[in-house]
């Protein structure tokens, strides 16, 4: 029987409209604005100033703390300014503005397509390369990759899980790279597996992507035949269910283990990385290529087929520029989302620019996305049935509206992964997640405060 996570989950429509659109390379615009906050943790510190000449792939901002990451220039040209600019949510963040001149790359970067299968022996060197090339998790959280690959003392990885589930509707970028860059992803997996001490690696892909399963299985088989260090890598077909790609859910599906509340995956011997992260690790380690490009999907039901795309973009490109190259924003679009429709963010500012973790421009019509009027809870329990963490959103909603913090904590509001299943399922249009999200923030603050005393 096909594996999947054991609690809750929903089945929204697939809507992978752009799945057959090959990855195209976006032309470089005349100007880019590179944010220093492209990762989870402290924003990086800029090390360039106006007037500096930079090459593509050159470091322009340094990590400011343990959980932080290097940021590199994605283009060659002259730094025009370093200062505040609005991000997709409309908040000010330091951006480095660069006027593009030519396309010259920093030295030591291998720009060829040749597949490098020989894995460096020195794990320290590998981790240094992953760190220096600014690799972060590309599954959504953009957590610095080298941190996740160094388990704390006393903890050992039993399994590396590569997340190829891409359970969010509409998104197809992971699917495309699994088809077009399968071998590179497998090399990345072998590198990470070696760093983690040689544990097995499982590539989890949902059943609705048979071509990706085929391509990845073939890539694993071929590399195992022709190169060293690829044993113990396998592809696992997972049942289609959202949120399969949630870290905790994927660990449950693949390893039949559950991470304790407020715990980390490594506590149960799991390390989860997205397939796109694996590709970035390959580029960083084998090609010395910093993370300055990624693949994003331009899609939506209101977008004509010829305007659906999977683009390889460079960080710092204005979203409005990408939308225009892709064929313009459809008249009927009411909301533009960066990320999937379940967990992505609604874009408030299309002048914002791409970051390492950008995964899509998704256009939704008002009819698709405007919520209905809230009515009384009919106690159907569909929210609790859907919650993949086994929480009871109807109950948390009631406690949260009455500020009952002790009850919220007892009923595990802090375990919420904000997947949106509850709000999606509610027939009475109650804004469950909106309310639970706020309560979760408060309760986590209380728990952390208690720990410090």
């Amino acid at each position: 029987m096909m594996k999947t996570f054991s609690i809750g989950g929903i089945h929204p429509s697939d809507s992978k409209i752009s799945k057959d659109c090959k990855i195209e390379v976006l032309p470089v615009p005349s100007k880019v604005f590179i944010s220093v906050a492209q990762h989870l943790g402290a924003p990086a510190t800029p090390i360039v100033k106006a007037g500096d000449v930079v090459k593509a792939g050159q470091v322009i901002a340094e990590p400011a703390g343990f959980i932080s990451a290097y940021v590199h220039s994605s283009v060659s040209g002259t730094v025009k300014s370093v200062g505040p600019r609005k991000d997709i949510a409309g908040n000010n963040m330091t951006h480095i503005e660069i006027d593009v001149e030519g396309d010259e790359w920093a030295e030591g970067i291998d720009l060829t397509d040749t597949l490098v299968t020989a894995i460096p022996e020195d794990n320290k060197e590998i981790l240094e390369k992953i760190k220096m090339n600014g690799v972060v998790g590309l599954g959504g959280a953009t957590f610095p990759a080298h941190v996740k690959l160094c388990p704390p003392p006393g903890k050992k990885a039993d399994c590396l899980i590569l997340n190829g589930a891409e359970c969010e509707p509409y998104l197809t970028s992971d699917y495309r790279i699994m088809l077009e860059r399968s071998k590179e992803i497998v090399v990345g997996a072998a590198i990470m597996k070696q760093v983690l001490g040689g544990c097995p690696a499982v590539i989890g892909i949902e059943e609705n992507k048979p071509e990706a399963i085929k391509a990845m299985t073939a890539a694993v088989a071929e590399l195992q035949k022709t190169a060293k260090g690829y044993e113990g890598i396998s592809v696992m077909t997972l049942k289609k269910k959202y949120p399969q790609g949630g870290e905790k859910q994927l660990i449950d599906a693949v390893m039949k283990r559950q991470v304790k509340s407020m715990g980390l995956p490594i506590d149960v011997g799991a390390v989860v990385q997205n397939v796109a992260t694996s590709l970035a690790v390959y580029e960083a380690v084998q090609k010395n290529m910093p993370l300055v490009t990624n693949v994003m999907t331009i899609t939506g039901d209101c977008l004509p087929m010829e305007n659906q795309h999977n683009y390889k973009f460079r960080i710092g490109m204005p979203l409005s520029y990408i939308a225009e190259v892709a064929g313009g924003i459809p008249e009927s679009a009411a909301k533009v989302i960066s990320g999937g429709p379940m967990m992505g963010k609604a874009i408030a500012n299309l002048d914002a620019t791409t970051v390492k973790g950008s995964s899509s421009l998704l256009y939704l019509t008002a009819e698709q996305t405007v919520r209905g009027v809230e009515s009384a809870c009919i106690r159907c329990g569909k929210c609790a049935e859907a919650c993949p963490m086994g929480l009871e959103p109807f109950l948390l909603n009631k406690y949260a509206r009455n500020n009952m913090m002790d009850e919220l904590e007892e009923n595990a509001v802090q375990d919420c992964i904000e997947c949106g299943c509850c709000l999606y399922s509610c027939p009475a249009n109650i804004p469950l997640l909106d309310i639970i999200r706020l309560a979760k923030g408060d309760v986590i603050k209380i728990i952390r405060g208690r720990g410090q005393r």
Partner: protein, 320 residues
């Protein structure tokens, strides 16, 4: 587009709504409604019409003039109560008795608690039990059917459970279970055909309106409970199949006990809830003064639901 719409995730929503769920319950009741009208004819149509119309009208008047809230009639829940109440009454019930039932169901059991989602007891059942206690003669007058189909010669004018209560097991020996499965038995309109009710059950499950736990738990409990007693003394106690097919057990366990508002939230709570209903039903049937006890059993267990919700929670991820 002129302006970007911004809101927190998720950005998509299921097409299932309160209205569509309630409408599905009405659709699931249609087979039973059709059978009852075919069998009992115009009088049943009158009961159904009066019940549904008065439930909807009362909810409209109460929300508009007493609660001064926006109208909730469009969510179909009043219609569900109306159909269920009608199916719980004999076809011969006078129209004004039906109306009083509707007043108690919607006016007292539902709206005094604050309307849909707030009531502790199943409105249709409160209406039925109120009528059963207040107008026992009307409520047990199993009139001779004058419907459009049916084998009226075999009709006895009393419910199988009533016959068993009066005459013991010997009195029901001649009854044919196939009749119970299709329609030729006496009783409330909705108790006529087990098959029609089961068809509704399948529809509700397929449309994912209800989960099967409560219904199956009730039926299993009734089967096991009556099975034990029947095995001990088949001369005194009726057999499990008879108990499953007769009375309001199927109507109650499929459509009334599974009412969202008045049943437990968790699956485990639902199973315990169902066991309670099954045991109380059988205690009343075997040892009580009334021949049938499903309504009372559900109402008694309704009152325990808040406790069951407190005791039984869903299984949480990563917590033993």
């Amino acid at each position: 587009m002129d302006k970007l719409l911004v809101s927190p995730s998720p950005h998509l929503h299921t097409k299932t709504s309160t209205k569509s769920l309630m409408r599905d319950v009405v659709i699931a009741l249609l087979p039973a409604v059709v059978v009852s009208v075919l069998f009992y004819g115009w009088s049943e149509l009158l009961v159904l019409g009066v019940s549904v119309a008065s439930c909807i009208l009362l909810e409209y008047l109460i929300t508009k003039y007493l609660l001064k809230k926006s109208c909730t009639v469009c969510d179909w829940s009043a219609a569900v109560t109306g159909v269920l109440l009608a199916l719980n009454l004999p076809s011969s019930t006078p129209w004004w008795v039906v109306f009083i039932g509707a007043v108690v169901a919607v006016g007292v059991a539902k709206m005094t608690f604050g309307g849909l989602g707030q009531n502790l007891f199943n409105p249709a059942l409160v209406g039925r039990v109120f009528l059963l206690i207040s107008f026992p003669t009307y409520m047990t007058d199993w009139a001779k059917p004058n419907g459009f189909i049916g084998n009226f010669d075999a009709f006895t004018g009393a419910t199988p459970l009533g016959i068993a209560k009066e005459g013991g097991v010997a009195a029901i020996e001649s009854m044919d279970y196939m009749d119970m499965l299709f329609c030729n038995i006496g009783g409330s309109a909705g108790e006529l055909s087990a098959l029609a009710l089961l068809a509704g059950f399948v529809y509700l499950l397929v449309r994912r309106v209800i989960r099967p736990y409560i219904t199956l738990s009730i039926l299993a409990t009734v089967a096991v409970f009556s099975g034990i007693f029947w095995a001990i003394n088949p001369a005194e106690f009726t057999d499990p199949l008879f108990n499953l097919l007769t009375g309001g057990l199927l109507l109650g366990s499929i459509f009334m006990a599974t009412d969202y508002v008045t049943s437990p939230m968790s699956n485990l709570g639902g199973i315990v809830f169902g066991i309670g209903i099954g045991v109380i039903t059988m205690l009343i049937r075997y040892f009580g003064a009334y021949p049938e006890g499903v309504s009372f059993a559900i109402l008694i267990m309704n009152s325990v639901v808040p406790l069951l919700n407190k005791w039984f929670h869903t299984k949480k991820y990563g917590r033993a």
